[in-house]
Each structure stands twice: as structure tokens, then as C-alpha cells.
Symmetry: C2
Subunit: 387 residues, 2 copies
């Protein structure tokens, strides 16, 4: 199927524990996105903006989309906030693509932001938990690390796999992050360091968990048939998919598969007509190491339990046959909630244009993004191709 939309520009702040506040972070990412449009674009051509943000306590919790229009320098433009927890960015891209496809805007700006480190620890824990089921998980004390720890235990037991497969995800993504100037961590890890780190929620240790990060990312979307007005190297959105699931993990039929991801992937592949074997690399939602293994299986790149072996084989390294998270993933690049899904699209934009510097994947032509909200209650998948 012909692509309906294209990305013509992208911007990204450093991810990490940053001095800058959310407005400044947004502005930096947005300015870089506009500056990256090869033939230029006037900001007045942007007819609508979508903000992806959980709106963390201490900043603007309600009505924050108006801030994005302000920081773009055009208060007045239609502005919406999309909040689907950690999948906010993927769903905001979806809304933006619909807006240009429906013909209502020439260009649409999508930006994600989160300022997470600027609050005391207790409040941070509260805000981190708000995307899990309230009655059965958050109020019962089950954290996200706890949920993913349960899932990891089950996965290892079901498939007779050891924790080395989890550790290898961390080792690989930290190696990739070390090559990404925007990454939260540039620390290279050994498998032994990951395995011997303090436990967080067994079998997940400290290095199996993504960090709490600040940051922002932004992309500019236009209708596919207008893309070449703005750049000779657009990145086309070939397909999008989205799905949901019971919010509480206990309501689901199985722990080690995310139905939301499976549904989103099915829709994205159907929408695009693309086959899995033509995908050059993946950006998947590795909030915990186990999540990357689930993603590979739910997206259809590995059978049940095979993701562990695939990962241990080295195939998912940047130089392997199916590179996964060449930017370091949430694990090493960092995870400023609302920004993460947009950041994945930023990486795809850079890689498919051959602009990823030392982390460039040779010959990358097509990529998939996978963005998950909470512990799998929402998921968005995108398929992109070089122009």
C-alpha cells in the first residue's frame, strides 16, 4: 500500500537527569526538528500539534498541549495532548498521521516530553505507578518492576531459559547507548555486572530496568505526496497499528505475551503490506530487559522462547542480522515517558537517512517502532521506509 504520510524533520534533546525544565526541553527538540527540514518549512504551515506526555506531577498536568503550541512559537494552532502512559508518543504519531491523511493540516508537529527527576523520590514512585491498574496493582503495592519481574520469572520458567538472556539485552543496549550522544547512559556493561547487580524484582536486577529520565523529542509529519517539497530524503510512514488489553495483568489470559503488541503489529503489517523479512532494524519498548524479549516474539520476529536464543546469538546487536534498539533503547538511552515513542521515530528518521553517525546500521532501508503503555495495556507499532 502506498505510504500516506512522511516524516520530514526530527529533533531530540539529551536524555538524562537534566537541569532544563519541560518547556526548555520541548523548545530544544522542536527547534531541532524545524531546523532539520532540508528545504525548510515555515512554522505557519503547521496546522496542528500533538503533545505526548504523562504530565508528571510538578509540571503542567492538565491542558499542556497549549504549551507545545506556545513553544513552537505559534500559540493559536490546534493542540491536543495524547496520554497513553509510556505509549503516548506512538499514539500521538498515529493521531498526527490521521490528521494529515484526512487532509485537515498541511503539516503536523508531534512532540513528547517528560520531566521526571525534578521531584522527591516518594512522589516519583507515586507518579511512576499511575499508569498501572489502580485498584488491583498500584494500591496493592505492585510496581512496574514487580509486574515485569513476575513476567520475567514466568518467561524463564516456561522456556527453560537462564537470566543470561535478560542480561544480554542490557549488555547490547548499553553498548549501543555508548555510541549515542543523546543517551542517558554511556556506560558499557559486562554480562557479569548485570547478573551480579542488586536485585530490584527478581529475576530483574538494577541493570535490567530502564532509568528515570528527563527529555524531549519531536518529529514533523506531512502527507506523503507533499514530502518532497520539504526534503529529498523523507522517511515514509508505511503502516501503523495499535492495540489495547486489560489494564490489570491479572485479567489477562497469559503473562508472557502482550496481546496489545500482537494486535498492533498485525494491523501495521496489514496496513503497510510489508513483510517482516524486509525490516532492516527494530526500535522496541525495552523498559525492562524482559520486555525486549517479549517484543521480539509478539512482533513476530521470534517464536515463543526463541527471543532469548536469538539475543544470546548476537543477532540483535547493531551489527547482527536483525539489529534491535541501535540507539540504546529505553534501557540505556533513557525513558522520559511521553518522549520515548517519539524518540523511536527520531532514531528511525536518522538511521533511514544514513545520519546516525557511529551507530549507523549499514544499508538500513526499513524499520519498525514498537511503543508500549504500562505493562502492555496499550501498544502502538509503526513501519517506516527510506524515501
Amino acid at each position: 500500500m502506498a505510504a500516506k504520510a512522511a516524516i520530514i524533520g526530527a529533533g531530540h534533546t539529551r536524555f538524562g537527569a537534566l537541569e532544563a525544565g519541560p518547556r526548555a526541553l520541548l523548545r530544544t527538540a522542536v527547534d531541532e526538528a524545524f531546523g532539520s527540514v532540508d528545504h525548510g518549512i515555515d512554522r505557519s504551515e503547521v496546522g496542528e500539534v500533538y503533545l505526548a506526555s504523562l504530565g508528571f506531577g510538578g509540571w503542567q498536568i492538565g491542558n499542556s498541549a497549549a504549551v507545545l503550541a506556545e513553544e513552537m512559537g505559534r500559540p493559536g494552532v490546534a493542540a491536543s495532548r495524547i496520554e497513553n502512559a509510556c505509549a503516548s508518543g506512538g499514539f500521538a504519531l498515529r493521531a498526527a498521521v490521521r490528521a494529515v491523511t484526512a487532509g485537515s493540516a498541511e503539516a503536523v508537529l508531534v512532540a513528547g516530553v517528560e520531566k521526571m527527576t525534578d521531584m522527591p523520590n516518594a512522589r516519583r514512585r507515586y507518579w511512576l505507578g499511575v499508569s498501572g491498574d489502580t485498584e488491583w496493582e498500584r494500591l496493592a503495592g505492585l510496581t512496574f518492576a514487580g509486574v515485569y519481574g513476575l513476567i520475567a520469572s514466568r518467561y524463564l520458567a516456561e522456556h527453560g531459559v537462564g537470566p543470561e538472556a535478560l542480561a544480554e539485552v542490557a549488555v547490547k543496549n548499553h553498548a549501543a547507548g555508548a555510541l549515542n550522544p543523546n543517551a542517558h547512559f554511556h556506560k558499557v556493561l559486562t554480562r557479569e555486572q548485570v547478573l551480579s547487580a542488586p536485585r530490584v524484582a527478581d529475576p530483574l536486577g538494577l541493570f535490567d530496568c530502564c532509568p528515570v529520565s528527563d527529555g524531549a523529542a519531536a518529529v514533523l509529519v506531512v502527507r506523503a505526496d507533499r514530502a518532497r517539497r520539504f526534503t529529498d530524503s523523507p522517511v515514509y510512514v508505511e503502516g501503523l497499528g495499535a492495540g489495547s488489553d486489560h489494564l490489570a495483568v491479572q485479567e489477562r489470559g497469559e503473562l508472557t505475551r502482550f496481546a496489545a503488541t500482537r494486535r498492533a503489529a498485525e494491523e501495521a503489517f496489514r496496513d503497510s503490506g510489508v513483510e517482516r523479512r524486509s525490516i532492516s532494524f527494530l526500535e522496541v519498548h525495552d523498559c525492562f530487559t524482559i520486555a525486549e524479549l517479549l517484543a521480539l516474539e509478539d512482533l513476530g520476529f521470534a517464536g515463543p522462547g526463541e527471543a532469548a536464543r536469538l539475543t544470546l546469538s548476537g543477532a540483535t546487536r547493531r551489527t547482527g542480522s536483525l539489529p534491535v534498539n541501535p540507539d540504546g533503547g529505553l534501557k540505556a538511552k533513557g525513558h522520559p515517558i511521553g518522549a520515548s515513542g517519539v524518540s523511536q521515530v527520531y532514531e528511525v528518521f536518522r538511521q533511514l537517512r544514513g545520519e546516525a553517525g557511529p551507530r549507523q546500521i549499514a544499508g538500513a532501508e526499513r524499520a519498525l517502532t514498537h511503543n508500549v503503555g504500562g505493562a502492555g495495556a496499550t501498544a502502538a507499532v509503526g513501519i517506516f521506509a527510506a524515501g
Copy 2:
């Protein structure tokens, strides 16, 4: 311009201080919406859902769109939350119309919900303020009543108008609410009662302010050319518009006009090709009495200062020449934040199908909805016609 989308069903809970929790409220509104589709619709035809909610403290703050898919009985379907404070519903409708227009879903469910009365007063005040500018308004102690009080003072002074015009909005909307079984208040007020009520933020008294309400509303949206499969009396979405403004009131050029509303109205009228004189009635965002006067002027139905005289003339009563808020408005019907914009569309659906019972406007053929986020930082306008 030909309508692109249509409303084929609508549901609404009672608004008020209710026993039911947010899930039950959603379910009631959603079930009624499905039940109202004349020729029936299978829930499997709904390809996507949009939840409008501020996500008030105590309930599901993050990732709550998944709950809507669950309560529709179809966990799995793509689900997004749109949060633009009190304008969430209007923007969620916009996203849904784009989804069907872009051809990605046969039918889309839009539902708004808020559970506001189930928390202590102090927390309620915190949560009510989160949609105002954080740095310059909320943290400085400026509440929404305070902002609208400032606006009202300025309006009365600028136009040499007395508080009777404000009071008349309350009297009119309470009279209308008394005829609406779903309204929070069924109490009829006299102008003297409004004028002598305790002051909240001068010149606004208790009866100039909308209440804190619980409630939910839902509508089903399909592409216009598919509408007659589902009903012989669809309500067509003829045009939509949206706008934004500086979040902090102090950044704006003027206090007594909302640029976001003006922009949204301009887009909606341009999009629809409809002229103002063909609009039978309006559903406007009267969170405070002054807001209804501003709306009439910003939407282009009255010149600067003329809304006061128009209101005092009785023209905006249900039986007048330009009925405004025949359901009681936010003022008397209640204002469960995320539900309010969807509730306006519910009223339009009922009125344009001649199903509004004792509050029916004779001969209503075309209507406008106007939904504002915060103190005017976001606004959405819709124009609808009977099928």
C-alpha cells in the same frame, strides 16, 4: 462542503454527586450509546476508541483509555486518551472524526468521564487547578473562579454592563436544567437569588459557577456515507475547528476575548461552509456565567458587549430566537470535566433527532458545540446537522 462523519448513537449518565465509580459511569453511557443505534451495531465494528478525561486523582491517572476498551467489552481495540482539560471531549471527537475520515476505522467510540466528588476538598481543589498555568496561576493561588472573576470584572467595566446579565445566564440555564433528567441541578433560580448568593470571586457568586460533578457521556461516530446503514436519522458532523492560546492569561493581549474560541469557530465555519444564521441552537462552554457571554461574542453571534443585552432580552432562552444550552449547560447540567464536551454532542444528537422531550427546541436543524479547556487555552467547535 459534504459532511465527512456522522453520529449514529449517544449515551449519557445522570450528572451529579453520584455513588457510581468511573468504570460504571463509562459502562452506562457506552451501553446506552450502543443501544441507541436504530438499526443496531455490532461492537466488533468499532475499530478504535477515544477516552476524554482529566483522570482525576484517585482514579486511573495514566493509560486509562484501555479501561474504555474494557468497558466496551472489547479489550484489544486501539484506545487513546485525549486530555485537553475541560475541552477533552471536543478534541476527542475531533480525533475520532479524523480516524473515520482517514478510513482507518468503520466506527469509533468517543466517551468522556470524570469522577470528581470522590476525594477530599483539598485534593479536589488541587486537581481542579491543574489545568491552569502552573507557574503563574496555580502555584500563585489563582483559581479558575479567580481567573473568570477577573475576566467578568473587566467585561462589565469595558461594556458598562451590570451583573444582571451574568445572573440571567444562570437563571436561564437553571430553568433549562430543570427539564433535563440528567442534569446535576433541577433547582430553578430567580435573578435575585443569583445576585444575592455568597460571593466566590467578585463579581461571580455561588450561582455563577458550575458545580463539581461526576458523570459520563458517549457517542458513536462513523463515516458520513455509511451512516444510513445504522440509522435513518444520523446527525452529520458538518465542520470542526480547534484552537489554542497562551496557557497563562497574563500572556494574552486581551482578557475579554478568547482567541482559541475565535480560531476554532473560524475553522469550523470554513470547514462546513455553514452560515451563522442557519444555526438553530448552541451548546456553549458556560463553566462560569461570564463564559457564556464571551462564547456568544467569540463565536460571532454577538458583537463586543452585545451578548449581555442579547441574554437580557431573552433571545438565548430555549424558546428564544437563538437558544443557548437547552440542556442546562455546564452551569446546571453539571461539569464532569472530560464528559462535558461529549455531553454537548449528546444533546445535539437528541435535539436534532427531535428526542429531547420537554426541553425540545422546535424545528432544530443545525447546532453548534463549543468546548473550552481551562481559561481558554484550548477550544474546540463543532457544527452538526440533522440527517
